[in-house]
């Protein structure tokens, strides 16, 4: 019983922690950011933006959205590719993100030195690059990289800024990334298509309406809906439902272990009944009512399972404490519903499985029970 309850505690703590972690990430990014990616989830069959691309998203599309979606405060087109960057003899494989000045604010980036991409017409591609902190250290150890020239692919680019360490966001490690103007990236990779258009919505705006507006505008331009709009809610929603299913599934397994524990309690109680037949018979001979005998054994079963449940709670919480000490930063948290339902379930299961032995005790014939006496 302890194990079952402890399992429920730990698993729900993990599940809830994961959910909170994701939420935290989302809130950091900004719950008011809407993304447009090419491809419809159904047609490409996978996560939008990855896999086959039916129709390109272009800078012109982004301009159209900027012009016509009133509620959009900032719009940033982005394209992505991989290249080699080199400075002197040092070189590295990196991810190149082609974007605009707006991306700085949308992504909540932080600068360490210099500046981000200039506020210039998106269609103009200048030869400037913003390095990540890690790359700046690797390529220019001990030297200020600002103003230096690096080669990205065959292109000579001037370093105008260095980002502060951002760490991992949604699995994308910005440590291996550089930012260049979007038009430069398009020329570099010889493709017009954008990998994403991000919109930051004005505070207080209705995200659903913005989404509908974007769909309308782009559908007119493309002739069909060959793109997907991702809102934070939709991503959060699908992730949440996956997590919920996972948590529930695991909690289901934990509940099975509780049922097994219940059977264990039943066996313990059955043995107890058979060992105490004399006592039970005596009680009945002395006038104990059937309900009193039943109540006694059911109460014992309930207490056994309650104790087991409490022990399980203690074990579960201790395990989570250890985990959060080992993995600091992960917001392990046990939702109240998990703890209370685990305790309730453990008592209920224990009591239910105690009923059979209890009814056996009740049906004991006092004479048979007292057969330690004379014949």
């Amino acid at each position: 019983m302890s194990i079952g309850v402890a399992a429920v505690i730990v698993l729900s703590g993990l599940g809830e922690g994961a959910r909170r972690y994701l939420r935290g990430q989302f809130e950091f990014i900004g719950s008011n950011v809407v993304g447009v990616v090419p491809g419809k989830a159904e047609t490409s069959g996978g996560i939008p933006g990855v896999g086959g691309v039916p129709n390109d998203l272009t800078i012109a599309d982004a301009r159209a959205l900027e012009r016509e979606v009133r509620q959009a405060r900032l719009v940033a087109p982005a394209t992505v590719g991989t290249e080699t960057i080199s400075a002197g003899e040092r070189s590295r494989q990196i991810v190149v993100i082609g974007s605009t000045s707006e991306n700085f604010e949308i992504r909540k980036l932080e600068l360490r030195a210099g500046r981000f991409l200039p506020k210039a017409p998106w269609e103009r591609g200048t030869r400037v690059v913003v390095l990540s902190h890690k790359l700046a250290l690797e390529l220019f150890p001990g030297v200020n990289p600002l103003g230096s020239v690096v080669r990205v692919g065959g292109w000579r680019m001037r370093v105008i800024g260095v980002l502060a360490s951002q760490g991992v966001r949604f699995g994308m490690n910005l440590d291996e990334t550089v930012f260049v103007p979007v038009a430069t990236a398009q020329a570099m990779f010889d493709k017009e298509s954008l990998f994403r258009i991000a919109l930051q919505v004005r505070p207080g705006a209705d995200i659903e309406r913005v989404k509908k507006r974007c769909i309308a505008i782009l559908r007119e331009r493309h002739g069909e809906e060959d793109f997907t709009i991702t809102t934070p809610d939709s991503i959060l929603g699908s992730l949440e439902s996956i997590l919920t299913m996972l948590t529930l599934g695991l909690a289901g397994i934990a509940s099975i272990s509780m049922a097994v524990a219940g059977i264990g309690i039943m066996n313990v109680m059955l043995v107890s009944v058979s060992e105490r037949t004399e006592e039970i018979g005596l009680s009945k001979a002395l006038g104990a009512a059937p309900t009193q005998v039943l109540a006694l054994f059911v109460a014992e079963a309930a207490m056994l399972s309650a104790l087991g449940g409490l022990l399980g709670l203690a074990i579960g919480y201790a395990a989570l404490q250890t985990a959060s000490w080992l993995i600091p930063g992960f917001p392990f948290h046990v939702p109240l519903w998990a703890a209370t339902s685990a305790m309730t379930l453990s008592i209920a299961v224990g009591t239910a499985f105690g009923l059979l032995p209890a009814s056996r005790a009740v049906r004991l014939d006092p004479t048979a029970a007292l057969s330690g006496g004379p014949r």
């Binding site: 009740v362 330690g372 004379p374």
Partner: protein, 241 residues
Amino acid sequence: MIRMHDIWRTYDVGDSQVHALAGVDEHIRAGEHVAIMGPSGSGKSTLLNIIGCLDRPTRGSYELDGREIAGLSEAQLSRVRREVIGCVFQSYHLVPRLTAGQNVELPLVFAGVPRAERAQRVAEALDVVGLSERARHRPAQLSGGQRQRVAIARAMISGPRLLLADEPTGNLDRAAGEEILAHLDQLNAHGLTLIVVTHDPEVARRAKRIIVLEDGKIARRLPANELVSVVDALRNLERSV
């Protein structure tokens, strides 16, 4: 007080049936002191258990104080056991982990009597059997005679009108047994109906009359002072069994 008519108690053993009691008819009046005797297997204890409502007859009618026992539910039976009947057994059947006082208290606990009243009645009951100083002793710390006296106190505490004793002196030496029998006589003198099962003629002699069972039936009824011939009869029976 007790009316039994055509009482049978049958057990199914495999394909056949064993009749522990095979048609017992008997009346016992209030205040009587009756001894039940008979060889082993004659059904003495079975009869006592049925009288004490610890067992139900397979067939027949048993009326206690005018009430037909067969029709009572378990809950009603437990009330009868609590309020009307007291039982004393050969092996005392005290709860080893409770003190003497707590053992005596048990029937009151089942009856839902409040704590203060229980304490007072326990004190009185132990006083009657002369064990007031031993109230806090566990059965293991008491002699056989003392244990049986605790059992008597327990049996009497609810104020029953009928006391059943199954070989009450069976595990006791002569002196202790005498003490117990004296207690029982006293209670009977105060109006308690007393039924004792015994194989010991000395115990049976103290009753007013004796019922002899044989093969589940009443073989003889006789007044206690005719006991000598019964002892012979018993010896004959046991030889032939």
